[in-house]
């Protein structure tokens, strides 16, 4: 197990390097020039020389390989370059916002798992009954309804029922945890509903599949209590595909909360993404893509380690 884990962790390093190279190359292909956009933003007329001077100052005229080297050298030190727009370090720009997105993603995951596990399990065990149909209707709804729209409904519902807006904006978790949770629970709910639907449906089908396996019949033939048959023999096997879905959805949340963040007026990473694209801020965009990609890699690592913990066949693989 330890050997598997260590090997798997070491494998992260080449993956990240490959990601970094890929991100750099892909973004050089993006058309448009930040300098022009930035300098003409206020509507002034700027001469070609001034643009050139600015490009020089920002290091955009350097040959590509030099840019690449300074980028790759900076990475291990946490230096993602400076934002071409705000001229503050990219790491700082992202750092100030990622905590919020991360917290939201984790909160949504917790909510989703709390909702999905009972729903998925009940749905599988009572397959074909009314209860199952209700749960399946709920979960297909969760997948069909966009989460930002659910967010808007939540806000509107709050206004018409309680006569006031849910608390928008954010206080840091460390300053005032309760208020922070109270503020984030609404966006987390609107995202978590969809999330839980995906997980619950996955869990339902994998439990159903596992329960028809031969070893479940063996367990029953041994006279094991039905509850233990499900929990001890069934669940652990059914968790494998479910864990994958949870991991993928989580990683997706980090970069994919753009609209929900706007609805709830949260200053997270999604909004930063949109800004960097609109402003053609290559350095910031590069940093953001890299951050999200890194999260993906690490979430996958965690999923793989969980897999190994759950399934001895993977653990003992030589």
């Amino acid at each position: 197990m330890l050997q598997y884990a260590l090997r798997r962790i070491l494998l992260v390093i080449p993956t990240l390097i490959a990601v970094a190279i890929l991100v750099f190359l892909v973004l050089r292909v993006v058309p448009g020039d930040i300098v022009e956009i930035k300098m003409t933003a206020e509507g002034g007329i700027v001469s070609q020389e001034e643009i050139e001077r600015e490009r020089e100052r920002l290091g955009l005229n350097e040959p590509l390989y030099k840019q690449f080297i300074s980028y790759m050298v900076g990475l291990p030190q946490g230096d993602l370059g400076i934002s071409l727009w705000t001229e503050r370090p990219v790491a700082q720009e992202i750092g100030s916002r990622i905590a919020l997105s991360f917290e939201l993603a984790i909160l949504s995951t917790i909510l989703a798992v709390l909702i999905a596990f009972p729903l998925g399990t009940i749905s599988a065990l009572y397959r074909g009954t009314g209860l199952d149909y209700v749960i399946r209707l709920l979960t297909i709804g969760g997948i069909a309804v966009p989460s930002f729209w659910l967010g808007m409904l939540l806000i509107m519902g709050s206004i018409s029922v309680f006569g006031k807006l849910p608390p928008l904006g954010t206080v840091s978790l460390f300053e005032d945890p309760l208020t922070n949770l109270y503020q984030l629970i609404w966006p987390a709910l609107s995202v978590g509903y969809r999330y839980s639907s995906v997980v619950a449906r996955m869990l339902r089908s994998s439990i159903l599949e596992v329960l028809s396996e031969d070893y479940i019949r063996t367990a029953r033939a041994k006279g094991v209590l039905e509850r233990l048959v499900i929990v001890k023999h069934g669940m652990r096997n059914a968790l494998l595909p479910t864990v994958t879905v949870i991991g993928l959805e989580f990683a997706f949340l980090l970069g994919g909360l753009v609209v929900t963040e706007s609805v709830f007026n949260l200053n997270g990473i999604g909004k930063l993404f949109v800004d960097s694209v609109v402003r053609n801020d290559l350095n910031l965009l590069q940093g953001l893509v890299l951050t999200v990609a890194t999260c993906f890699v690490f979430v996958n690592l965690i999923v793989d380690l969980l897999y190994a913990a759950l399934d001895p066949r993977i653990r003992y693989q030589k």
Binding site: T218, K222, G223, V224, E226, D311, P312, K318
Partner: protein, 690 residues
């Protein structure tokens, strides 16, 4: 080593008259979308304490379902079980609440399933799975259970039980997993073990080990066993009593000698006569039962075997047949109004298709059609052995194999799984490019390029009739494809005429060319596979386990068909199979393989009658013969251990690690194939010395 079977020669039955299980009118119905299937239809039988009862029948006859319904393991969502009573030691287990049934399961009635590979939970340790019933039923502590689990594992012959306890199922071989299943079944010393095809997925030597173990332990502990199987040899070797099932009903029951010596139901007679016999001389066709079992959703009135019965009378289709005592022995019952006639005539009722001319002879005066010389097939393997180290090597799947096939000859290739027999076939066809040796076919030396010249002359039939036909093509399209590809018939009209001829030739009907594979039965699909091979008018057909997925009565039909085609068309076969009796029946010459090497080659009669190599002897000993009289007298030595890893084969003679006759020098030198008779070769150094 040798297990003496003298003890079972006693005339007294080993079991008492104390009835343990009394099943009366058990009925199981499945609710399907388009109707109700009565999978078990009013069966009644009894099992005495310590009795070994076999339930035989072909697939779909309801034997497994009836066993699962005893344990009430069928999903109540789809299955309805009714019975007058199912008394287990006086308790009606068809009526007690599920919670009480659960307390009996694993405690007093255990079950062993067919598929050892999937019947154990992959994420729990072997120890946990053996301990589970002990902790559940006997309230043992973890330590007590562990101690008992080690005891049980030793009892079922798992070496180093203590070290293997914390291992997982994937670290066990199929045979070892089945031992684990038996250990689980025995854990609480039950009164009854139900074994559902416990050895069907295992090799014949492992099968013998497992069945001996089961028989031995059940006798010692006085446990009754219900064994469900389709293998009549296994029944003859181990069962005290037999129930024969057909189309959801028990159609005959009695002691093993009743059923095998004096079968009174035409179906039982047909079943017994359709099995090729290892102990009988070759020649003659196998008896076949025509047609297919009835659809259980809408079973016919009267006798269910009526449509297929060779001695049926009109009255048979009117009256329901019920089990009645025969004129034979006291325990013998059968559900046939004409049983007296059946008893008297026996196999003669199948006369019309038994008595056709014997097998063909081979003319060996000319050149061989196929000549394989020193064939080698290595596969690269690599796996991690440590942090940064890995093993890169090769497996010798086929190692220095040579044999000839003459025109019109059938050469049988036998051996246990992993012996390389399929690799030989694939190498000859160049589905895998051989890594050494020479293959001459029709005077052409085969290689990557020249194989295209002989593709038409060399065809193949695969094992699985279900997956080797494209489900989205009709039978006609499947048969038309090779005709088009090889440009044999350019005219569409003539092609379809040709397809009709082919279908008739393999015993199907021309109208079937519009059907899809799923609309045909397994035997019919295998016939399509044969028709596809025949369409090229080949000189050689490589048959890779062509009948092992089929029921015995269908197997007999296919074997007869292959023999007829050989006689009419002079085709040669390379017949790859693991069933020794089938190979004996169909082959002129037999090649025995072990771990990629040839152990022995000989004419069928001579090889089976006087095997020279210890491995051949062990294989023959392990294969049960469907005759309890012979089985009772037979002294058999059962091979110990399992096939060694082909990655790291034993030095010297590859069989030396399991050979009962091995001497020290066996592990030093690799024996050569020695001539031990006309056309009889064996590779064993002991033969050299003697």
């Amino acid at each position: 080593m040798a297990v003496n079977k003298q003890n079972s020669k006693k005339t007294e039955p080993l079991f008492s008259d104390d009835i343990l299980l009394d099943v009366k009118n058990l009925r199981v119905e499945f609710r399907m979308k388009n109707g109700i299937v009565r999978a078990v239809d009013d069966i009644s039988y009894q099992v005495r304490r310590g009795e070994f009862l076999a339930v035989v029948g072909e697939s779909g006859c309801g034997k497994s379902v009836s066993a699962l319904s005893l344990m009430r393991l069928l999903s109540e969502r789809v299955a309805t079980i009714t019975a007058d009573h199912v008394l287990f030691d006086g308790i009606d287990i068809s009526r007690i609440p599920m919670s009480e049934m659960r307390r009996l399961r694993g405690r007093r009635i255990s079950m062993i399933f067919q598929e050892p590979m999937t019947s154990l939970n992959p994420v729990l340790t072997i120890g946990d799975q053996i301990k589970e019933p002990l902790i559940t039923h006997l309230s043992m502590t973890e330590e007590q259970a562990e101690e008992r689990a080690i005891e049980l594992m030793a009892m079922v012959g798992i070496p180093e039980p203590k070290n293997r306890l914390p291992q997982y199922p994937h670290q066990f071989s199929g045979g070892m997993r089945q031992r684990v299943m038996i250990a689980i079944g025995l854990a609480c010393e039950p009164d009854l073990i139900i074994a559902d095809e416990p050895t069907t997925a295992l090799d014949v030597t492992i099968q013998a080990q497992i069945l001996e173990l089961l028989k031995d332990i059940s006798q010692r502990l006085g446990i009754a066993v219900i064994m469900i199987t389709h293998n009549l040899g296994v029944v003859a070797a181990y069962a005290d009593n037999v129930n024969v099932m057909y189309a959801a009903q028990i159609i005959e029951k009695g002691t093993a000698s009743d059923i095998f010596a004096k079968p009174a139901h035409p179906y039982s007679i047909g079943l017994l006569r359709s099995v090729p016999r290892m102990d009988k001389p070759r020649g003659g066709r196998l008896a076949t039962i025509d047609g297919l079992p009835p659809n259980l959703m809408n079973p016919p009135t009267g006798c269910r075997f009526y449509a297929r019965c060779p001695m049926a009378q009109d009255s048979c289709s009117q009256a329901e047949q019920v089990l009645e005592k025969t004129k034979g022995s006291a325990r013998h019952e059968t559900a046939c109004a004409l049983s007296e006639k059946a008893l008297k005539n026996g196999a003669l009722i199948y006369e019309r298709n038994v008595s056709v001319q014997g097998s063909s002879t081979v003319d060996k005066s000319g050149e061989p059609l196929l000549s394989v010389t020193s064939l080698k097939q290595e596969f690269a393997v690599s796996f991690r052995t440590g942090w940064f180290s890995s093993y890169n090597g090769s497996v010798k799947a086929v190692d220095d194999v040579s044999f000839d096939i003459y025109p019109g000859e059938t050469v049988g290739l036998v051996g246990e799984s992993g012996c390389g027999k399929t690799s030989v076939g694939r190498a000859i066809l160049h589905l895998n490019d051989p890594t050494g040796g020479e293959i001459m076919f029709d005077n052409i030396s085969l290689n990557k390029n020249s194989i295209a010249l002989v593709r038409q002359d060399m065809q193949v039939i695969f094992q699985d009739p279900f997956s080797s036909l494209n489900p989205r093509m009709t039978i006609g399209e499947i048969l038309e494809e090779p005709l088009k590809v090889h440009n044999i018939e350019s005219d569409a009209e003539k092609r379809s005429q040709r397809i009709s001829e082919l279908l008739v030739k393999v015993g199907l009907y021309p109208y079937m060319s519009n059907r899809y594979p799923h609309e045909l039965s397994g035997g019919q699909r295998q016939r399509v596979g044969i028709a596809r091979a025949l369409s090229m008018e080949p000189k050689l057909i490589i048959c890779d386990e062509p009948v092992s997925a089929l029921d015995v009565s269908v197997q007999a039909q296919i074997i007869n068909l292959l023999e007829d085609l050989q006689r009419d068309l002079g085709i040669a076969y390379l017949f790859i199979a693991h069933d020794l009796a089938v190979v004996k029946h169909i082959s002129h010459k037999v090649v025995v393989m072990y771990l990629g090497q040839i152990m022995e080659v000989g004419e069928g009669e001579e090889l089976y009658g006087d095997p020279k190599h210890p491995y051949t002897q062990a294989l023959l000993d392990a294969a049960p013969i469907p005759d309890p009289e012979i089985e009772r007298k037979r002294e058999r030595s059962i091979l110990k251990g399992e096939l060694p890893s082909p990655i790291n084969p034993p030095s010297g003679c590859v069989f030396s690690t399991r050979c009962p006759k091995a001497v020290a020098s066996c592990s030093n030198t690799r024996p050569e194939l020695l001539r031990v008779g006309t056309d009889h070769l064996a590779s064993c150094i002991l033969l050299d010395a003697g």
